[in-house]
Each structure stands twice: as structure tokens, then as C-alpha cells.
């Protein structure tokens, strides 16, 4: 499985819910697959998708907030898991596309082939899932609908050569329409 393929499956289970997507190829894939007002595409500030997601989740308890993260990204900010575990929001769904590499910068390895990221999730009070095929991913996405706690899904994928286009929107535009989308149906 490659990221774009599994992201599409995840997106089939998301309507208008907010998504905070990590910088690099993750935001680019999301931009191509499901462009919408409630996507907050990060351009810089690597590692912070889950922190931004926590802030949005705490202030919008009635919405389920998705974080699209990578293994390299979350390994840069493991402390974020500690703070999420401490605050225990029930409405954050942290999806980690784990290709064991920094694909956006040329495929250099991360440590996630030897260090299982989901274990951090477990000790930080997440309900955690590790999936490595489309069937178990779809199963998991159905299951989480009934779960009322912070959720982490680590999706094991392989590296890919497919490169999506850059996010061509202005950062301030991304922000403004994201904020407007949170205000709708609050």
C-alpha cells in the first residue's frame, strides 16, 4: 500500500470534518484527493500537526478532528502525544502514515522500523490501531465511529514514487476558510 491509496480510503470515511495535514507530501496528497474548506494544509512547521489538532479538538468538542501525520513528523514532536494524553480529548483521530522514511526530503530513513510508534500512543492514553492492509484499515475506520477517546491509527505503507502537486493556495486563505468552516454548524 502507498500513502495516496490508503489516504483515499480514509477520506471515504470523512465528510466535512476538519483535517489538519502535516507539511510535505501528506498535505499535497490531501490537496489532490479531497480539497475542501475544512482542510488545514500545513506548509512549514514540521512536527506540529498533532499540536494544532489538539488545540482545535479542545475548542470544538462536538466535532471529530482528524490529524494526517507522518512517521517523521510525529517523531519530531513526541511530546505532543504526552500533552494529548494528559488532556484526553475524545474527539481527535490521529492518523499516522508510516512509510518509515522522510519521503518528502528524498526518502531518508526514520527510526520507525525499529521503534513502534503505536506504543507511544498506547502509553499516552490513545486507543491505538496498527493496520497494514486495506481490509483491516476499512475495518478499523468502521470501528472507530463508536470509540469515545483519543484515537491513533498507524497505517504501515511503503514508499512511493507518486508525487502530488504542491498546495497552491495562499496560507492566509487556507486559514480564513478553515476558520469559517469551524464556525459553520457549531
Amino acid at each position: 500500500m502507498i500513502r495516496k491509496e490508503v489516504m483515499k480510503i480514509v477520506l471515504d470515511h470523512i465528510d466535512s470534518q476538519p483535517i489538519i495535514s502535516a507539511n510535505g507530501f501528506i498535505s499535497r496528497d490531501l490537496f489532490e484527493l479531497k480539497e475542501k474548506n475544512s482542510n488545514f494544509y500545513m506548509i512549514g512547521s514540521m512536527g506540529l500537526a498533532s499540536s494544532i489538532g489538539l488545540g482545535v479538538a479542545l475548542k470544538n468538542p462536538r466535532k471529530r478532528i482528524y490529524v494526517f501525520d507522518g512517521d517523521g513528523n510525529i517523531l519530531m514532536n513526541l511530546g505532543s502525544l504526552v500533552t494529548i494524553g494528559y488532556m484526553r480529548p475524545k474527539n481527535i483521530i490521529h492518523i499516522i502514515f508510516d512509510n518509515q522514511s522522510h519521503e518528502s526530503t528524498g526518502g531518508q530513513p526514520t527510526a520507525s522500523n525499529k521503534i513502534e510508534i503505536s506504543k507511544f500512543g498506547k502509553i499516552c492514553n490513545f486507543k491505538t490501531f496498527v493496520v497494514s492492509n486495506t481490509k483491516s484499515l476499512k475495518n478499523c475506520l468502521r470501528q472507530i465511529k463508536k470509540i469515545n477517546q483519543s484515537i491513533m491509527i498507524v497505517i504501515k505503507i511503503s514508499k512511493s514514487n507518486i508525487q502530488s502537486q504542491r498546495v497552491s493556495l495562499e496560507p492566509e486563505f487556507i486559514k480564513n476558510r478553515f476558520m469559517d468552516s469551524l464556525n459553520e454548524k457549531k
Binding site: 500545513m42 512549514g44 506540529l48 479542545l58 514532536n77 505532543s80 504526552v82 469551524l182
Partner: protein, 161 residues
Amino acid sequence: MKPFQTKIFDFFQKHDVENFIGVPDSTLKEFISYGLKKKKIIVTTREEEAIGIASGMCLSGSSSLVFMQNAGFANSLSTITSLVELYKIPIIFLIGWRGYLKDDAPEHSMIGKIQPDLLKIIELPTKTLSSNNWKKSCEWAIKKIQNNASCALIVKREFHD
């Protein structure tokens, strides 16, 4: 009389700042202890994380202040420039200025020296607080975030442990 740091906290709460997030600093301990007593503080593991959470809250229409020592400010330069300034997310930074005194601990001397220049270089509008001018500067900060801009308020470390 209340120390001015607790007055600052009250002032910001009165002006609808709802979130106080950051990493503790001894220069700001009166501010932080007061906020902790009121159960209004989120302590994070690193400063960048605090800025990320505050950004998420600002995106939800909830005003936020991030507190840190200037060592943490140095950690945060990329986050401030590539998140806060790039997306124009209005956050008030409250920064303790270690290394302000020439004989402060050695690890603070370089950052303490270049801090005013760093703030200028990243174009973060700044005011330094004192017990006399704090109110005016805090009013200035509120205006800044109302206009969608971030800014920094600095508290000098004028004592030794």
C-alpha cells in the same frame, strides 16, 4: 498590592484571552503560578508544541497567549516564522528575558544579548514590560491580535536566584 504579573493575567482574561499555554520560566513564575491556581494554564513539553496548540485554538476563534523563556523563544524561531507569521495567526507571546543582567547564568548570555535583534529580524512587534508601563503595553498587544497580528511582550529578569 498584587505583583504586576498577576495583574497582567487578570487583564488578559478580562480582555477575552482564553488560553495560556507554554513552558515554565522562573522570570514569569508569578504569572504562571497565578494562572495554575486558576486552572487556566496548559504546560507543554516544548515551546513549539505550545505555539501549535495555541494556533489550533486561535483557528477556532479563541484568543491565546504563549509563555516561555527566551531560550524557548530561540527554539521557536522556525515555528513563529513558518506557522504564526506565514498564516497570520494572532498570538501574544510572553517571554522571560534571561541574560538581561550581564552576570546572569552563562548559558543565557548569548541569547540574552541577541534577543532584541532576533525579535526585530523576524519582524515580531515587541514591547518590554515593567511594573509602570504594563497596562499600556498589554492594551497594545490586545489591539495587535484584534488586527490579526502576533506580538511579543518581554519581562526582564532583574534578579538572581
